[in-house]
Amino acid sequence: MKYVGRKILTMLFTLLLVSFLVFLCFTVIPGDPAIARLGTDATPEAIEMLREEMGLNRPFLVRYADWLLSFARGNFGDSYSYSMSVADLLLDKVPITLAMSLMSIAMIVVISIPLGLYTARHEGSVIDKLIYALNQVIMAVPPFFSGILITLLFGIFLKLFTPGGYVSYTTDVTGFLGYLFFPSIAIALPKIAMTVKLLRSELIEEKKQDYARTAYSRGNHTGGVLYKHVLKNAMLPIITFLGMAFTDMIAGSIVVEQVFSIPGIGRILLTSISRRDYPVVMAVVVCLAAVVIVVNGVIDIIYQWIDPRIRLEGEKS
């Protein structure tokens, strides 16, 4: 329990650091939210008045403390450019990115684990080599380009979906998921390649361990050794990798949302950065960071669940 408490404390500290960094960054970069809002017709008086109204003329630390206090109270503030609260804006967009990320994760798990097992078991076979080569090539294609290729292949040639034909989940859930299926492939593809490769090499590495030899000595066949003994051990680094991949995927979804014209969190983030819409940027970044940190916390828990060694250490300290 003490362990969990300490963990949460560390997480909060990290989050605080992230928020401070973002706030700092957006104080130093050029571009004035007041000017951004008023455009080319703005008079200097109007800009000055708006700056005052938005509280931009206060010192940096005061603004940060102010933001932090209202954030702690669950108030994300109002968007500068959209006349709505940040919370409303994000609540609308979170399900989109979330659905996409979850679909990608599901694809990664569902596809790469069997493939990893297969290639590790049939190490050196033709299919193994083929998958290896395919993996290497997939990893070498820039993500946005594979997104474009997927659009070309499935959208234009096979006509499985309408490029840019995003359907909101509020109007049509199946259509929504159907459209997100393809961008999810684009996000998942390089991760699948990496996971298969990593899982394969981990399995092969673990297969050489003494305990695997013990398992063989009891009369297990190769499959038994792989599934019953080696897989669980080999999953440990995979889980860590998936945690990191998740962080990557959130960043990657920014690009993919752009390619597939999906109005998700990444799009909101990009536009609000360029619009200097700080309340939105802060909320998005802090929430993303929170998700990343929480996911890593969950990974820790899964890790403990799988690896009894960590469990003990956790209890001890």
Binding site: Y132, Q136, M139, A140, P143, I254, I273
Partner: protein, 268 residues
């Protein structure tokens, strides 16, 4: 296994060598001015004079590839020098000394890690303006956490080795131990990581170009050329094929080499 290893090293070596040779050629010889525009040659197809055709400004694609791959190489190398350098330093110091320094630095690294890298790049670019050196800086900073983590775990492991203790007993200073005694031993892990980092930098540069925060026109880089070309993907696919192919070859060659090295590193 053995055979495949050699195969990896061979193919990787050939691809990487080929690309390096290509880039090297570009330093000494350019068939045309890479930025010279010519309205008559817009979207010219393949010909003897222009083996890869011309782009939307009538610039020779081969020439731009020669220049662009050099920029890409520069950006990727710069990124791993910045990211790898700082990451290694941070990882080495935190891993070796531990204690509160480790705790504080790792929190900062965690924070950096939880920060979407694209956002980081955007911030750096907004702050300093776009351009290849700022791209290097942006990607370099974004890459610090991963290198720092790898190096730190190596140092955590290696500092317990007896030869490190021995070095302390014979009176070596901490910094001598960190950089002269331990660092060379992290290379077997660090070098493949750096090579993978190189690949990620090439891909990230392409991604940044796509988002319009990469190398500045008229400068060419493979990523920039690829993202410029996608506007004309339907009418003039040729313009996208060459840089796309070059990126794939470059990354593929490096990752095959990295694989081969990693295997070899495990062995000895």
């Amino acid at each position: 296994m053995k055979k495949k290893l050699k195969f990896n090293a061979c193919v990787g070596g050939i691809l990487t060598g080929g690309m390096l040779l290509f880039i090297l050629t570009g330093i000494f010889f350019l068939p045309y001015d890479p930025d010279a525009m010519n309205a008559e040659l817009r979207f010219a197809g393949m010909s003897l004079a222009h083996p890869l055709g011309c782009d939307n400004y009538g610039r020779d694609i081969l020439t731009r590839m020669l220049v662009g791959s050099r920029t890409t190489l520069l950006v990727a190398l710069g990124t791993i020098v910045v990211g790898g350098g700082v990451g290694t330093l941070v990882g080495a110091l935190t891993g070796y000394f531990g204690g509160w320094l480790d705790e504080v630095m790792m929190r900062v690294i965690d924070a950096l890690f939880a920060f979407p890298s694209i956002l980081l790049a955007l911030v750096v670019v907004s702050l300093l303006g776009a351009g290849k050196y700022n791209v290097i800086l942006a990607l370099g900073i974004a890459f610090i956490p991963s290198f720092a983590r790898v190096v730190r775990s190596q140092y955590l492991k290696l500092k317990e080795m007896d030869y490190v203790k021995n070095a302390r007993i014979i009176g070596c200073g901490h910094f001598r131990i960190i950089f002269v005694h331990i660092l060379p031993n992290t290379l077997s892990v660090l070098v493949p990581t750096l090579m993978i980092g190189f690949n990620n930098a090439v891909l990230a540069e392409a991604g940044m170009s796509y988002l319009g925060i990469g190398v500045q026109p008229p400068d060419a880089s493979l990523g920039r050329m690829l993202s410029e070309a996608q506007t004309y993907l339907f009418a003039h696919p040729l313009q996208a094929i060459s840089p796309g192919f070059a990126i794939v070859l470059l990354v593929l060659g490096f990752s095959l080499l990295a694989d081969a090295m990693e295997e070899k590193g495990c062995r000895c």
